[in-house]
């Protein structure tokens, strides 16, 4: 069982990450991946020029490593991969990539779902949308918290 977690500062290609993850996964019957992208519009429809994710030194990476380790403990998966951007992210660029590998699909689906729900609420980032009217800080929504609460 292994978890590989990276915090990256430049745009990444989710297809390349998936290919590399799949190549490294031996004797698995299922690989599930999820990629989250920066949207060009805010929740209420206003245009977003960029999403800015601020991280804090080793704390951010360790927060994600802890979540990945718990996914390995909790689900019958062979491995998982998490890659997260920080800095300025333009609409259409990937923010986060998660992949899981397991002998059977259910564990792979559930572990990926779990990883994303917890990353969305607990990973140590401060996020703001930059638009024509200035910046707006984003906090987890009630829906995000309810999603994360499903695993409590």
């Amino acid at each position: 069982m292994s978890a590989q977690v990276d915090l990256v500062h430049r745009a990444f290609d989710p297809a390349e990450l998936l290919e590399a993850f799949h190549r490294g996964a031996d004797d698995v019957g299922a690989v599930v991946s999820f990629t989250g992208f920066a949207r060009g519009k805010a929740r209420e429809g206003a245009p977003v020029a960029a999403l800015v994710l601020e991280s804090y030194r080793g704390v951010t990476l360790r927060s994600m490593e802890a979540i990945a380790a718990e996914a390995l403990d909790r689900f019958d998966i062979a491995s998982c991969r998490v890659v997260h951007r920080d800095g300025t992210i333009l609409p259409g660029e990937a923010i986060v990539f998660v992949a899981t590998a397991a002998r059977h699909r259910r564990a792979a689906f559930e572990a990926a779902d779990y990883l994303m729900d917890r990353l969305k609420t607990e990973a140590v980032f401060w996020k703001r949308e930059e638009g024509p009217g200035g910046g707006r800080w984003i906090e987890p929504t009630d829906a995000d918290r309810a999603d994360a609460g499903r695993w409590a």
């Binding site: 989250g36 804090y56 360790r62 986060v96 609420t121 140590v124 980032f125 401060w126 996020k127």
Partner: protein, 91 residues
């Protein structure tokens, strides 16, 4: 007579996320030279930065020392890397 009293220490506190908008990124804070704790840092910061006190009172600001989020009783010494975290946004 000591040249430096118990209030002599000044520490630099990094304000993260939206907290930086209240003051700027770095806050120079006068704290007790001995026996300083994360709780004291938080209380002094709340006095020094306009708009911070309500968030602190609601328990929404955490203290991070040397890359570990700590409770109020944690000791803060010279040379420690201190930051204040507002609630995280998540990824």
């Amino acid at each position: 007579m000591a040249r430096h009293g118990p209030e002599a220490a000044t520490i630099e506190v990094e304000l993260c996320g939206k907290l930086a908008e209240l003051h700027g990124r770095l806050l120079a804070l006068s704290v007790p030279g001995e026996g300083c704790t994360a709780g004291i840092v938080l209380a002094r910061a709340a006095e020094a930065v306009d708009g911070l006190a309500p968030m602190v009172a609601e328990g929404r600001v955490r203290v991070c020392i040397n890359e570990v989020v700590v409770s109020d009783g944690a000791a803060v010494g010279p040379g420690d890397r201190v930051a204040l975290f507002p609630p995280v946004s998540g990824g």
